[in-house]
Amino acid sequence: MHLILCICIYTYFCMCVCFFFFFTEKMNTNLFLSFFVADVISTVEFNQTGDLLATGDKGGRVVIFHRETESKSESEELGESGEYNVYSTFQSHEPDFDYLKSLEIEEKINKIRWLPQQNAAHFLLSTNDKTIKLWKVSERDKRPEGYNLKDEEGRIKDISTVTSLQVPVLKPTDLMVEVRPRRIFANGHTYHVNSISVNSDGETYLSADDLRINMWHLDITDRSFNIVDIKPANMEDLTEVITAAEFHPQHCHLFVYSSSKGTLRLCDMRESALCDKHSKIFEEPEDPGNRSFFSEIISSVSDVKFSHSGRYLLTRDYLTVKVWDLNMEKGPVETYQVHEYLRGKLCSLYENDCIFDKFECVWNSTDSVIMTGAYNSFFRMFDRETGRGVTLEAWRESSKPRAVLRTRRVYTGGRRRRGDVGVDSLDFSKKILHMAWHPAENIIAIAATNNLYIFQDRVNAENQ
């Protein structure tokens, strides 16, 4: 594949846009790269069409990117797709304080989820540790002009100068994006909210904290329905917490939640009002040979995602990603090692708290490729058909124009190739925890601390 490179540099918040090529099924990596520098990014999410990309950061801000749709003929000639530009920025959550418990509530955005679009406006849910908010994102590109009593700047006209009556008309104006909070779902959670998931019915959504899952109606803010409660009567008996939850993409009565013990529970809301009793439980027996002090920590599931088809589940624990078939509970159907070379370093990773990092995992649009993050700005992609994995890097300095993004390798023994990175030289402060994959195309958004990278697959039309 030939590569077409185009670099445009914007200096707004150090944003740089570089076009590269990115990764396809053949494991050739071509990337189309955009940067954005902000506060530490804590969540990334595409909307259902992929035209909008929302990021939340530790400072409680949400930045929405919009994909520019260039004219078709131009795109085809150059082989470029639209690039993502900043669409809107707003402060979603502010630092808060719980006076009753004397606890500070962080404003960090834990999750953003878009609602399916129903009219011209876009809606998204954003949550911090305690409060979920529904935001309406709307465009305004027309304004009424020709008032009788006010002039164009809004100043009241002198009545004596008004000689005739005119009807105000809507005139096109510069695009303005307005974001307004429409609902605030507060006081629903005692513990820290870790997930939200919009139901396929379009009316309800769930929010999960460490011990409980609540179901809300999007229009009702003063009530929520508790559907899972794993809090023991005696807190000393606590053995596991909920780490992630998601609704099934098609069946509005099914949802799954993962636990810190590495189990997944599929619940059917038709069975009972309180879904403490699961319909299915997915767990893999522990390998006794790998037992260590940290076995429990590394088996904790940090993220769970349904496949687009709804047939499979993708889970991420500290060292692996696993694909589970909803029809088989006794174990995953596929297991991929993300960074097995870290197994011998668990103790030092425990000391520097890296072992508690919560990596996310994502499916591609066809459920054939899965992706997750790692350390040293590396992220991994696994092709489910071949079972092969590749390591890529989200790092500005290593992305040169006209370059195929080469795959990286961590040296763990055997023949050392040029460019291999030793395990001890991995930078554990550069971790890729949050990422998103476009729902239809091969476009991925990777959050590397406070940089956002957008990689696009670009196929040169000439060479097809």
Binding site: D98, L100, K101, L103, E104, I105, E106, K108, D129, T190, Y191, H192, D210, L211, K231, N234, M235, E236, L238, T239, E240, V241, T243, S260, R291, F293, F294, S295, E296, I297, S300, C347, Y350, E351, D353, F356
Partner: protein
């Protein structure tokens, strides 16, 4: 041996993490604290089992420990079980921690009679090796304290948690209670012997029971202040604080352990 050092190191790190989590912004993270407490538990098991078997993760040992651990969870038995923890190494503050761990786990619902009976059961079950350690933890808390003087790391841990004294009344009853139980059980179990332990025990016999108990309670109070009002709130079953304490549940065991650490190390330093 290196396993023991490793286990001890991991325990220190875990306790440090739990301590630090209290001052972190955003409140206590239940998930992380739960995981840390699990690591702490595993490390402790290894540490204690290693002492006797000389091998890390000896299957039988761990299993027995695990069984004992499970047995102890019924409220009436826990405290006393910990007191007589057969794995109590002569030079470690851990058994004390565990004792506290247990008793506080059950919200300090101790029953002296039950304790005694459990003690006896426990003793019957114990091997001679167990009795040895048990003897070392005989009569008085001080006796246990003294052996702990030897390792410097226990004092390190204590220093880390040193705080001004505060009054923690809710802890006093269980403390005293446990102390008295220990005494009773110690008297009752004269089986097995370890000359080394006997010597150490003897040297510490000079301390008064009341002193020990006072130390316990005051040191417990210190630990309470370390962990703030939340802990005492839990013990006093204060509803208003119940939730925040519940969040600390993952911490509770570690709180207990730290509680024990500080009193004993303070005692060691004092005497």
């Amino acid at each position: 041996m290196e396993y023991k050092v490793e286990a001890h190191r991991i325990m220190s790190i875990s306790l440090g993490k739990i301590y630090n989590s209290r001052v972190q912004r955003g409140g206590i993270k239940l998930h992380k604290n739960l995981l840390v407490s699990l690591v702490l538990r595993s490390a402790r098991q290894v540490y204690l089992s290693d002492y006797y078997s000389g091998a890390c993760l000896n299957a039988a040992q761990s299993q027995r420990e695990g069984n004992e651990w499970e047995e102890k969870f019924p409220p009436s038995t826990t405290e006393c079980d910990r007191v007589q923890s057969p794995e109590e190494p002569q030079q470690d503050a851990l058994p004390e921690k565990e004792r506290e761990y247990r008793e506080n786990d059950d919200a300090v619902k101790s029953d002296q009679v039950d304790c005694t009976s459990t003690l006896q059961q426990e003793q019957n079950q114990n091997s001679s090796l167990d009795s040895v350690t048990y003897v070392s933890s005989e009569t008085r808390p001080e006796t246990i304290i003294v052996p702990k003087e030897s390792p410097s790391d226990s004092t390190e841990e204590a220093e880390r948690d040193s705080t001004p004294e505060a009054n923690g009344e809710s802890h006093q009853p269980p403390e005293k209670h446990v102390c008295s139980n220990r005494k009773r059980s110690a008297d009752e179990t004269e089986s097995g012997d370890s000359s080394k332990k006997r010597v150490k025990v003897g040297s510490s016999n000079a301390k008064e029971d009341e002193e020990a108990e006072e130390m316990d309670t005051s040191n417990v109070s210190n630990l309470i202040t370390i962990f703030g009002s939340g802990f005492s709130g839990l013990l006093s079953k204060d509803g208003a604080k119940a939730e925040s304490e519940a969040e600390d549940s993952g911490q509770i065991c570690c709180d207990q352990m730290l509680k024990n650490l500080n009193p004993w190390s303070t005692a060691i330093v004092a005497f």
